[in-house]
Structures are given as C-alpha cells and as structure tokens.
C-alpha cells in the first residue's frame, strides 16, 4: 500500500490533483462508460465524493442513475468478468486508504477485494453459490486472505454467523443457501462480507429483496455492526427511508452524475435540487399526516446514451425556465457549494431555490 500523505484536503470536497488524499475513500471524476451497438452508455459520468472511516454514505437514485455501477467500479468488478463483451471504459481516480485503485496492479486490487473492501448484494439467494454450504463460502472468503487451516477458518465462520444473529451457528454453518430463509441468507451474506474486517463495506440495495419486518432487522444489524467494526459504509438504494435510517451523508444521483450531496439532515430538510424535491414529493410517508396528492416528477428517467443537453434533469424539471437565457438546456450545471459540506448542481440561484422550496414545495410535503 502506498504511503498515506497528508495533503491538507478539506474533508468533504475532493481536491483536484492532490497525489494522495487524506480521506479514507476518495472518488474523483469517476466515469464508467459502456460501448454498445446503440452508442456509448455513460452510466457514471464524472462522479466525485469522499468518505471517512466510521461514516456512512447513502447513494440514492432511480434505476439507471448509475448508483450500482459506481459501487462495482469501486470494487473493480467491471474490469474483470466482462468476457468478450466490449470492456467498460473507466476513468478517474479511486483512492482507498492511499492507494489509487484504477492504476494499481489488478492483482493487488484483487487482494484488497474482500479484505479491505467488501460488498453486500441485493438478492442473497442469487448472490450465494447454490452448490456450496454457507460455511464453505465463508471459509473460502476468509482463507483467501488469511493463511489459516480449515478448522480455524470454520471456527471464524461460526463466530461470524453467531455475530450476525443466526441461531445455532455451529449447525447452520453446514446448511446450503436454499435451506435458509431470505432474512437469514442476507445475514449470512453480511457475515461473509465482514469476515475479514473490511474497512469499506458497500451495501447495494441490501434490503430491497426482503420483507418489511425482516428489512428492519437487517438495517438494525448493519447499523450495529458498523458501530462495532468502525468501517466506512456506502449504502446504495432507491429507498429514501433506508437511506435516512443509515446515512450520515447522502449523494443523490441522476443520469450518471451527482446532482446533490450533503449531510443527511441537509438533504432531507433543505434540499437544493429540484430532483431531490421531486423524490421527496413522490413518496407517500407514514410519519406524516395523510396528504391528498403526491407530487410526482413528470416524464421518465433519461436515456444514458442521449442525455438531454444542459442539465440532464431539465425535461422533467418544473423550474427549468426559472434561470434566464435557456441556460438549463444548453449548459450543464456543475456541483456548487450551497452550504457547509452541501453541494448541488442547479442553475437556479440560491435565493430562487430558497423561495421555491419554502413557498411551493415544503408546504405540500
């Protein structure tokens, strides 16, 4: 691992061209493009963020916003396994604990995978190999990174299963995934990803495939485990409830870019982007009085091959004509600081957004 240099970068905002950032995880201008017959799919198109140990970043977005592609990009799961298909074009920088992953030796990155950074997937039934026992799969994950005998590794597996709340772990360690219920499977998946004490844990829609009551158990577990292990966590989800439960910071993605990023409270209580307003307005909420009508975002998510020019959100934005000179349709807005550690990419002025939010949006939520 390269030496961690202290280049006084402000926490939260990536500093361009600094050789190694001080943040634990820093992503700079990440681009993941997939060439297809129909054109270049720009799944992620210039994404930057930082994350410290012990903190949780929630990445929110709709399908096709690039949130899952981002996580796979960090894990380096694009470059391998695209057999025969045209390879993903990936650029930018991903600094994990002082190592830049995109230019690092692939075998070095492989060794980081599973040990330094681990991942929990959405559907534990399909993400676990059906032909191996839970124990075999956890033992395998442990033994790649630790030179221990099978017995020790198995003890470790039982210990982890116990930790994630699987009853009779010494028996269930020999069960196959299909013999587990959905919630138990996700617990096993979490046990497997934490077996090497990773410093970065990426959870891609960790509860989407689960029932509500089981989802609550798993969210609780993830929260507890983070406290215990002190890892940095990225939670990727479309569910604002899940994000609010877990995250310290929130990053909202639209059309492969970050359109708003900031502390969870800021993003929920003082959102600065019309798309974030739209998400909040679209969602019926149990914690509020019944609203008569939801406030949906009109239209559909954009094509990642032909993103609208200017602001990618402009065709769906009710306020696209607020800024002058048709600028929303011609110039792509950059992320700009709108408050402490809070950024948004919108052409409207702060005052305009403030007014619209307090007068038109907030009262209807």
């Amino acid at each position: 691992m390269t030496e961690l240099s202290k280049s006084g970068a402000a926490v939260g905002e990536p500093v361009k061209d600094s050789p190694a950032p001080s943040a634990f995880l820093e992503v700079r201008d990440l681009k993941v493009h997939f060439p297809t017959d129909d054109g270049l799919v720009k799944s992620v198109d210039g994404l930057s963020f930082t994350l410290e140990k012990g903190k949780t970043l929630g990445i929110v977005g709709e399908s096709g916003s690039g949130k899952s592609v981002t996580s796979l990009g960090i894990m380096g799961l694009h470059t391998t396994g695209q057999y025969g298909k045209r390879k993903a074009q990936i650029s930018g920088e991903i600094w994990l604990d002082g190592t830049e992953l995109l230019t690092a030796d692939p075998d070095h990155v492989r060794k980081l995978r599973g040990r330094e950074m681990a991942m929990i997937f959405q559907d534990p039934l399909s993400a676990l190999h059906p032909y191996y026992t839970i124990g075999q799969q956890i033992v395998e994950a442990y033994r790649i990174h630790h030179k221990v005998d099978k017995k020790t590794a198995r003890r470790r597996a039982v210990e982890m299963l116990d930790r994630v709340g699987i009853p009779q772990p010494d028996k269930r360690v020999d069960s196959y995934p299909h013999e587990f219920s959905g919630g138990m499977r996700q617990r096993a998946m979490i046990a497997m990803s934490l077996v090497n004490n990773p410093e970065l844990l990426i959870a891609d829609e960790p509860t989407t495939a689960l029932d509500v009551t089981v989802q609550a158990q798993i969210l609780d577990l993830i929260r507890d485990l983070q406290k215990e292990f002190g890892s940095a966590v990225i939670v990727i989800t479309h569910d604002l409830g899940v994000v609010a439960e877990l995250s310290d910071d929130i990053l909202v993605m639209y059309g492969g870019r970050c359109i708003e990023r900031g502390p969870a409270e800021k993003v929920f209580y003082e959102p600065k982007h019309p798309y974030t307003w739209g998400l909040l307005g679209s969602m019926p909420r149990l914690d509020r009085e019944q609203t008569e009508r939801l406030i949906p975002v009109k239209g559909s998510p954009p094509s990642l091959i032909n993103l609208p020019t200017g602001c990618a959100f402009n065709p769906r934005c009710a306020y696209a004509d607020v800024p002058k000179d048709n600028v929303t349709r011609t110039v792509r807005p950059e992320l700009a600081q709108v408050g402490g550690r809070h950024w948004a990419a919108c052409h409207m002025t702060q005052e305009q957004r403030e007014r619209i939010w307090t007068e038109e949006i907030a009262p209807k939520l």
Binding site: G81, G84, R113, S126, H129, P130, T133, I144
Partner: protein, 343 residues
C-alpha cells in the same frame, strides 16, 4: 426448514434401493412391451415365427417341430412366463425328441443361425461399451474445454473458429467423417491398421483399432458438448454468485474453475447420461463404418434378418444400460447440486 446437511449415506442407500426397485419394474414393463411387439406383430402380419426360424422352404413337419420346441403355439402369457424363467433360472426347450438346455440368463436362440443369444451379447457388449466410454472420455475433455474457452473469449477469433468447427462437427454425418479419417490415416498414410483387435489379445492392437472410431464419434459429440458448454458457461458467468466470488477476492482461475465450472457441469451431466445410454444401445453407424463387432452391428444384421430374439436381447441390454446410466447421472447430480433431494 432445518434438515441438516444434504444427504447422509443412509439417505443415499434408501434412494438407491428405491431407484433400483423402480428400475426393475421398468425393465419388466419393457420386456413385456418388447415381447409383445416382437411376438404379436408378426402373427398379426400373418408371418409365422416358426417359419422364420426354419426357413420358407422347410416342410410342415419341421415347422411344427420348431413351433413345439420354442413353445410358439403356447398362449402369449405362457410364452412370456417361459421367457422370464429363462432369464433368471434358465429354461429347457424340448420338442420332437431333442432337448436343449439353456442356462441362466437365457435370451433364447437366434432364428438365423440357431446360436444362443447370451454369448453373442456378452461378446459384443464390451466392444460397444469400450467405444462409448472411450469416445465419451475424449469428447468430455475436448468439448468442455473448447466450450469453456469460447465462453471466456467470447467473440474472439478462437471462439468463432471453435464454433465453426463445432457447427461442422454437428452437421457432418458420422459415416462421412469416419470414412474420411479411415481414408486418410489408415488407407492413405497407413499409420493405423484400423482392424478391430479384442482387448484380451493385444492392448496396443485394441487401441489402434479403436482410436479412429473414438475420435470420429468424439468429434461429433465434442461439437455438441462444446456448444452447450459455451452457452451454459456464458449464462453462469452472468450469475450474481460469480460476481460475489470475485468480490471476495478470489483469483480468476478459482472463480472459473471452481465456482463457474460446478454449475456448468449440471446440464452437461444430464446430456452425458442420455448420450451414453443411447450409444450403448448401438453406435450403429460408427460400428458399421469401422467394422466393429459391437451391439450396433449385431442389431443391424438382426433387423435385416428379422431375427427377433436377437433384437429382443439387444433391446433389453440397451434398456438396462440406459437405466443404469441415468441412475448414475442422478446420483452424480445430487452430489453436485445439493438442492436436488434424493427422494
């Protein structure tokens, strides 16, 4: 939910016993059906089996004697009973004063040359079995390897080349490739003698005689297996658990060789079971092309001679082979895929 580990030895044994019992029932049904077809159809068609046995020019007395001796005049049930008895305890043919003892697996006598059928089967079965197993060994290795490589290098020159060859392998008839290989390696280059030599006589001679049939047969099947392996492997590589395996930090050889291969083997095994069974039933074309004295050749001759007892014997042996091959595949399947319960 909790049912402990997959299947203990006890469960496997119970399963085996159940399956063997089912296989026995199946065999009896097959015998009945085959017996019915072969002995009733000629009668309906107005052909007297006894005439077939003796020959058309024989005098009525000789025909009658044969009919007596073979019990062809008995009711069908009696005939079936005698046949079963012959299979398990042997039977005695007696008629017109001369008595023939037929020892325990008694499949009767050929209509054509009055030879006992069981020795014919035991002579020929090893040839066919050797052909099928040897070819299967070759096609599994080359077919699966080619398929895996194609899947990993999808769209590459290798992939396209392999798939074109595979297409050729699947579409070229075996007598064509067989004759071609004989013409080149045996008649042309003279590398290989090409005559069949029993294994008991000379190992190298046997190898020399079998190598071309093996390769020819394996070429056809390897082509099919390469295609199915490629398709399955590509599908498996897209599975979530392969991504999980990579996310754990496993090396690519382990991801492919362990995680992906195990899933890819399932459909291949199923196919192997069916193919082996079918081949043992008679690789007729291959055996004919290479003049191998196997079951396929025997049944071909028997069909052209309307030699019903031989056909019946070969059919039974084949059915048995298919049933056993399928049983083995099912057991292997349960070993590979724990979700398959042995029940």
């Amino acid at each position: 939910m909790a049912r402990g580990t997959a299947a203990g030895p006890r469960a496997v044994l119970a399963y085996l016993i159940r399956r063997l019992f089912a296989a026995a029932v199946m065999l009896v049904v097959i015998i009945l059906v085959v017996f019915g077809i072969f002995f009733l159809v000629p009668r309906w068609a107005g052909v007297d089996p006894a005439t077939m046995f003796v020959g058309k020019q024989a005098d009525p007395a000789a025909i009658e004697a044969v009919r007596q001796k073979l019990g062809l005049a008995d009711p069908i049930f009696a005939q079936v009973w005698e046949f079963f008895k012959g299979l398990f305890v042997g039977r005695t043919y007696s008629g017109g004063g001369d008595v023939t003892e037929c020892a325990a697996p008694c499949f009767g006598y050929s209509f054509r040359n009055e030879q006992a059928i069981w020795p014919v089967l035991t002579d020929r079965f090893p040839v066919t079995l050797g052909l099928a197993l040897g070819a299967a060994f070759l096609w599994l290795i080359f077919g699966v390897a080619a398929g895996v490589l194609s899947a990993l290098k999808r769209g590459s020159l290798w992939d396209r080349g392999a798939m074109i060859i595979a297409l050729g392998g699947v579409s070229l008839p075996i007598y064509f490739t067989g004759m071609l290989s004989l013409a080149i390696f045996s008649y042309g280059l003279g590398w290989i003698d090409g005559r069949y030599v029993p294994l008991s006589e000379s190992f190298t001679g046997w190898l020399g005689g079998m190598i071309l049939p093996w390769v020819t047969l394996a070429f056809l099947y390897a082509a099919m297996y390469a295609r199915i392996t490629r398709a399955t492997m590509m599908e498996v590589l897209g599975e979530d658990y392969i991504r999980t395996a990579r996310a754990k930090g496993l090396t690519e050889p382990v991801v492919i060789g362990k995680h992906a291969m195990r899933s890819t083997m399932t459909p291949i095994l199923t196919m192997l079971g069916m193919d082996l069974g079918a081949l043992i039933g008679g690789a007729i074309l291959t055996e004919t092309t290479f003049s191998l004295p196997g079951l396929g050749q025997a049944v071909l001759t028997a069909i052209s001679d309307k030699d019903l007892p031989v056909i019946l014997g070969v059919t039974l042996i084949t059915s048995l082979a298919v049933i056993i091959a399928n049983l083995l595949v099912d057991l292997l399947y349960a070993v590979i895929d724990p979700r398959v319960r042995l029940s």
